[in-house]
Amino acid sequence: MNATAAALNLAPLLDVRGVSKSFRKADGDALVVLEDVNLTLRPGEIVGFLGRSGCGKSTLLRLIAGLDDPSRGVINYLGRPVGGAAAGMAMVFQSFALFPWLTVLENVQLGLEALGMPEPEMRRRALQAIDLIGLDGFESAYPRELSGGMRQRVGFARALVVHPNILLMDEPFSALDVLTAETLRNDFLNLWGEGQLPIKAVILVTHNIEEAVEMCDRLLIFSTHPARVMGEIAVDLPQPRHPDDPRFRALVDRVYVEMTAKPRGERVGPKSERFPGTGIGTTLTHVSSNVLAGLMEAVAGPPYNGKADLPAIAQELRMEVDDLFPAAEALQLLRFAEVEGGDIRLTEAGLQFTREDTDDRKKLFARHLITYVPLAAHVRRVLDERASHTAPKSRFFDELEDYMAEEGAEQTLRTIISWGRYGEVFAYDDHRQCFTLENPT
């Protein structure tokens, strides 16, 4: 089936125009999580939403499913605005979302029961879906008796049985181990390719680049804070696709380049920190110092010798985008590395770090933390100025909340506490919830 050619001639299933979503923060300000998204979905397509977790792509999926309303813009399904949970769109969840008290058969029948279908017909269709997805013999099992892969098969069967026009997949493979995920993806692609699935189009939300390239006809790449569509890549490789295929690798590389491209205006560049008081509002993603050290050592070592291709290093370290990108960005923030064009290159300081012993590493880390992370410098300054050398966490939390949502502030503080402890720049007492200068001796 030549999906793309056919798709162009057909009326769109789904039309998303100028959709934004914002949430109200505690202080009444709006926090934008999704900005001005446009998308047209045609029959026969698998479209992937690619971005890091927490970037808002799942929010977009829920807006499409009608589980939530957009703040601005319209979502048209078959030419009519989506209002409330829509028929014709069924969802597969990352956590499976199976009802633990229902058997496999009952779980699969759930959507049909809601349609008020007569029992014999319901039974027939459920068994058919169970058959199709390879669950025969498990009809009377309870979800907790099944492995993760089998559970997600139930998730697929439950969604397919209602014969939806659009299958919405929210990171369906990311809770599974690598091998199981691969098997399930292949099975799904085979059924899709043979036209056996009672669906017209698929939206796949994922943060796994290889998975996206393997499955999708078209990829939308999302930025974070807020989520915008940074770029679109058409994947025109024939199925089945092989990760070893040079064209496949080239596409993966291209996605990495797109994803490491600097989005307009929001990156904390070297300039912004020269002015005291600015840059505190950067949301920091927590990355353990062990991961930072490990990544630097890997890039410094052979065969990379200080400069590595991100896809290559991701594969070698078995890191997913979700782990790799925050780590690379943390290194960039700390001036231990530069990330650009899908590559990571250690700076002189980064190379030096890999050569030092534990104590000197800590000292170097502390110096960079104070110099390049404004929040760390700020915390240290406050502690130095106070006679007691202690300051409650809530003080900084309130400050951060001017710039970000509660969750982001919590995460940023967690990061700064962890880095501050590693560099021994300051200590933190969780019991009293306050920062101090004293480490227990």
Binding site: L67, G83, A97, P100, P120, R158
Partner: protein, 575 residues
């Protein structure tokens, strides 16, 4: 595969009822006979009831147990209906929530005896008939069962995982279907546990519920509770013994036929495999599963439910859309203003009612009585903790012991304080002891077990790796308790202590006034104050005492237990 909807006799040519069928058949019909017998008295007149006094003959206990058990079952069903409606409304409507949840908090703190004022109301409903008195008794049992069940259900509804709710919405389940397919099953494990607690509560206050005594009106309904009350009045030790035996049998039957199957099947409802004490084996459940006869009944029930689900299923998705007018801010303000107004009216009514009779100075005295009871509760909770925490840890680390200890503790929790009156009174009189001190242990008689229960659960949930690590590092003795055992059971202990403390306040009404025949001992305290006022029909003082007690309990919960609980959750739970 689709054939199993046909009658069994058609489906299988050589159908022979199995042993499980026979047992099920006998049990089901015995239940109907039993219920019919127990219900026969309902239609009778009150005069007839008075003409036939309670008999202390052991043989009479068979009938009494039947009637008590039936009352408890009816009250339990009423509690379930209350739970499903009240808690659902509280969880689903933001506006109802602000009223219903604090109201539940207060209702839970009101001692059951204070509800006996309603006797006159129920008697007037059916003049001269026993039915009114029965309703009063069932209502009183209900008040000792319903609140914690409703609270547990509300709490469960609020903690359903987001993705399950999203799945239910995505597959467009109607509200009715969502209730039975998602909400009730999810809430089931916690609800069953609370039903068991409620049953124990019902037994503990049984004498108060069946032998109702308000002012000049006395109603004594045939039942185990009235039997115990009479035995105490007539100082009949043998009868007390028989009553304990009958109670034990009924509790055992409830446990085997109702709670064990429920807990065993509740394992199916759990989201994750928690380590707990739930017995996962029940012969009665096996019988129900294996018996075709009961299977048919169950299938009929399921079909009924499904029939109920259909009409909702065709309802449009528009149901999900909120009526926008109701979302407006001014509706909120109007609603809160209305609530405030109702509150003010209620406050002035109550104050006027109480102050019409009671001098303001007496309110101060009542508060002092409350402080005395507070001291009693605090000291005894502390003592009980010192005793039961180490024992609970010891038991919890030994699964075999734990499985034996759990049903025993459950029986002890149901053990009414009144049954110990003879022992306590003779000891106090014999040794010329101070009732203010020596009546106190009764206050914690039924509630200390909640501390034990929870500590056992906490200790059995202790991760084996932590135990091995401690052993490996040679952590022993006091250090082991301080660093391993106590921190890991602490959150569970706090939960148990909260339940025990709340229950002890309620128990003070039966623990501070104790009688045996003509002998009567009274301790100073709020419980005694309420008990005396209610029995004398002094409604003003009864209401005053109840209000003060409720305020004590709720304040204590807010300023002491809640922060402690939050701290325990934060500090000691392993994420």
């Amino acid at each position: 595969m689709r054939l199993d909807r046909l009658p069994i006799s058609v489906l299988r040519t050589r159908y022979v009822p199995g042993g499980w069928d026979l047992l099920a058949f006998v049990l089901v019909f015995a239940f109907f006979v039993y219920a019919a017998q127990a219900a026969r008295g309902l239609a009778g007149s009150l005069a007839h009831l008075e003409a036939v006094p309670i008999s202390l003959a052991p043989s009479a206990l068979v009938g009494y147990s039947a009637r008590t058990a039936l009352r408890m079952l009816i009250a339990m069903s009423a509690s379930l209906v209350f739970t499903f409606t009240y808690a659902t409304l509280a969880a689903k409507s933001r506006r109802a929530e602000v009223l219903l949840v604090p109201l539940l908090d207060f209702l839970q703190s009101v001692p059951i005896l204070s509800f006996s004022i309603t006797l006159l109301f129920f008697l007037q409903l059916t003049p001269g008939r026993v039915a009114g008195a029965e309703m009063a008794a069932i209502f009183l049992i209900f008040t000792s069962q319903a609140w914690n069940m409703a609270f547990s259900f509300y709490h469960s509804l609020r903690s359903i995982p987001d993705e399950l709710i999203e799945a239910a919405r995505n597959f467009r389940l109607s509200p009715w279907m969502r209730f039975w397919r998602l909400e009730v099953p999810f809430a089931m494990p916690a609800l069953i546990w609370n039903m068991m607690l409620s049953m124990s509560g019902g037994w503990f206050f049984l004498t108060v519920s069946e032998a109702i005594n308000v002012g000049h009106t006395t109603v004594t309904l045939p039942g185990v509770g009235s039997y115990i009350a009479l035995a105490i009045e007539q100082k009949d030790l043998a009868a007390i013994g028989w009553a304990i035996g009958a109670m034990f049998v009924v509790i055992l039957v409830f446990d085997q036929l109702l709670f064990r199957p429920l807990t065993a099947s509740a394992d199916w409802f759990r989201l994750d495999q928690e380590v707990g004490l739930t017995p996962s084996h029940s012969w009665a459940l096996t019988m129900m599963r294996r018996s075709h006869f009961l299977g048919l009944l169950a299938r009929a029930f399921a079909a009924l439910l499904r029939a109920g689900m259909r009409p909702g299923a065709t309802a449009p998705a528009a149901l999900e859309r909120r009526a926008s007018v109701w979302d407006a801010g001014w509706v909120d303000y109007a609603w809160y203003a209305l609530l405030a107004l109702i509150g003010l009216v209620a406050l002035s009514k109550t104050a006027g009612f109480v102050l019409g009779e009671v001098r303001p100075a007496e309110i101060g005295q009542v508060v002092i009585l409350g402080l005395i009871t507070l001291l009693r509760v605090a000291v005894l909770i502390a003592l009980a903790s010192l005793i039961w925490v180490p024992i609970g840890v010891w038991i919890g680390l030994r699964p075999r012991v734990a499985s034996i200890a759990q049903p025993i503790a459950q029986f002890l929790a149901a053990f009414p304080a009144n049954l110990l009156f003879p022992i306590v009174i003779s000891a106090i009189v014999l040794h010329k002891l101070d009732p203010d001190i020596w009546l106190s242990p009764l206050i914690i008689l039924g509630t200390q077990w909640y501390i034990l229960f929870n500590v056992i659960v906490g200790a059995s949930a202790l991760a084996p790796d932590l135990r091995y690590a401690a052993e490996n590092l040679g952590v022993h003795g006091w250090l082991w308790w301080r660093r391993v055992a106590l921190p890991s059971v602490f959150p569970f202990f706090v939960t148990g202590a909260i339940t025990a403390s709340g229950g002890s306040w309620n128990a003070s009404i039966v623990a501070e006034v104790v009688s045996w025949g003509q002998q009567k001992l009274t301790a100073h305290g709020l419980g005694a104050y309420i008990a005396e006022a209610t029995i004398q029909g002094d409604f003003q003082r009864s209401v005053l005492g109840t209000v003060v007690l409720s305020l004590f309990v709720v304040t204590l919960n807010r300023v002491f237990w809640r922060p402690l609980y939050a701290r325990a959750e934060r500090k000691f739970r392993i994420a």
